[in-house]
């Protein structure tokens, strides 16, 4: 997958870190110090459909040009997560018990076009 740059327009992964201290949650969340709430953004014209991230080879680029010239190129596909991992949290619950849990699929590692 591709990480978004300043001027990315095509499908890519936008990094976004939530610092628990910044939102005042550091008193009840023991670990970690923050949450990587990355998300997917950008265009997915049809000729990029089904390819995670940008074209990776000359052959793919040529194939893309052919697809782009086709009549159906007007339809877009969607920029979605292609790899995700759990968020492990250690926190105090309302009764000050210590709870450890792994929340599945909370962190986006890469994005691609459907």
């Amino acid at each position: 997958g591709v990480d978004c740059g300043a001027d990315s327009r095509m499908c890519c992964r936008q990094e976004f870190f939530v610092d628990f201290k910044e939102i005042g949650w550091e008193d009840w969340i023991i670990q970690p110090e923050g949450y990587h709430m990355n998300y997917c953004a950008g265009l997915c014209p049809l000729h990029m459909a089904g390819i995670p991230g940008l074209a990776a080879s000359f052959h793919t680029a040529v194939l893309n040009r052919i697809k782009a010239a086709s009549a159906a190129a007007a339809v877009d596909s969607c920029c979605v997560p292609t790899q995700r991992r759990p968020l492990s949290l250690l926190y105090y619950d309302r009764d000050s018990n210590i709870v450890k849990t792994d929340i599945p699929d909370m962190i986006v590692d890469s994005c691609g076009c459907t």
Binding site: V18, W25, L43, I98, I103, P104
Partner: protein
């Protein structure tokens, strides 16, 4: 400016950077609380003493190495491990009530896979000493849900598997009351105060309930 102020993928006016950041932070909070099944962030916690916490984590690690594979990974279901320190309740010269409070969110949406009670005996009398551990229901008569008799031979930690009793009790309420009864000449079965590193605690492993699928023809 040169770059159109619109979202390239959805074609609507994009948020101003500050507003976008606030929206994303709000989304992060909402997403984490929803996954933890919490209506809002918990109040400021009363953390356990460092000594008690360090001692409990050490015991848990020792117990885990003694019984590997205690909790096999479930099929992608969210799993919880809860460490709960006792609150001292009513007591007599030879017995004491210990209260453990689990959150409704965890107890209500998970299945308890394993629960272990950790008790420390500072100075039992000579020879094998009979100790009775009862799990009581939360009804007005505090009826006994389960009773176990231990033979304490020497000072140290004792662990008791209370998984089955906790599963049956959690059906009513996520509260647990344990009654400890020791020989008359022992004195109080509890350490002198809550910050002691030998304070009793319970460790429970729980797994999110599988979503029931109803097949209809």
């Amino acid at each position: 400016g040169a770059k159109a102020a619109w979202c390239p993928a959805c074609g609507v006016a994009s948020l101003a950077p500050g507003a976008q950041r606030d929206a994303l932070l709000a989304l992060a909070k909402q997403s984490i609380l929803a996954k933890l099944r919490l209506p809002g962030r918990p109040g400021v916690p009363q953390p356990p003493s460092r000594a008690a916490l360090r001692s409990a984590l050490r015991r848990m690690r020792a117990q885990r190495s003694d019984t590997p594979g205690m909790l096999r990974d479930g099929p992608g279901l969210q799993e919880y491990e809860v460490l709960s320190f006792a609150e001292a309740g009513s007591s007599t010269s030879r017995s004491v009530h210990l209260h453990f409070r689990f959150s409704q969110e965890v107890a209500g949406s998970t299945e308890i896979q394993q629960a272990t009670l950790y008790l420390f005996w500072a100075s039992p009398g000579r020879g094998a000493q009979p100790v009775t551990v009862r799990l009581l229901r939360q009804d007005p008569n505090m009826t006994v849900a389960s009773e176990t008799r231990l033979e304490v031979q020497r000072p140290g930690w004792t662990t008791l598997d209370i998984g089955a009793a906790v599963r049956s009790l959690f059906g009513e309420t996520p509260r647990l009351t344990v009654e400890l009864e020791v020989p008359e000449d022992w004195g109080s079965p509890l350490p002198p105060d809550h910050s002691d590193s030998h304070w009793p605690f319970v460790v429970a492993q729980a797994r999110a309930r599988t979503r029931h699928r109803v097949q209809r023809r």
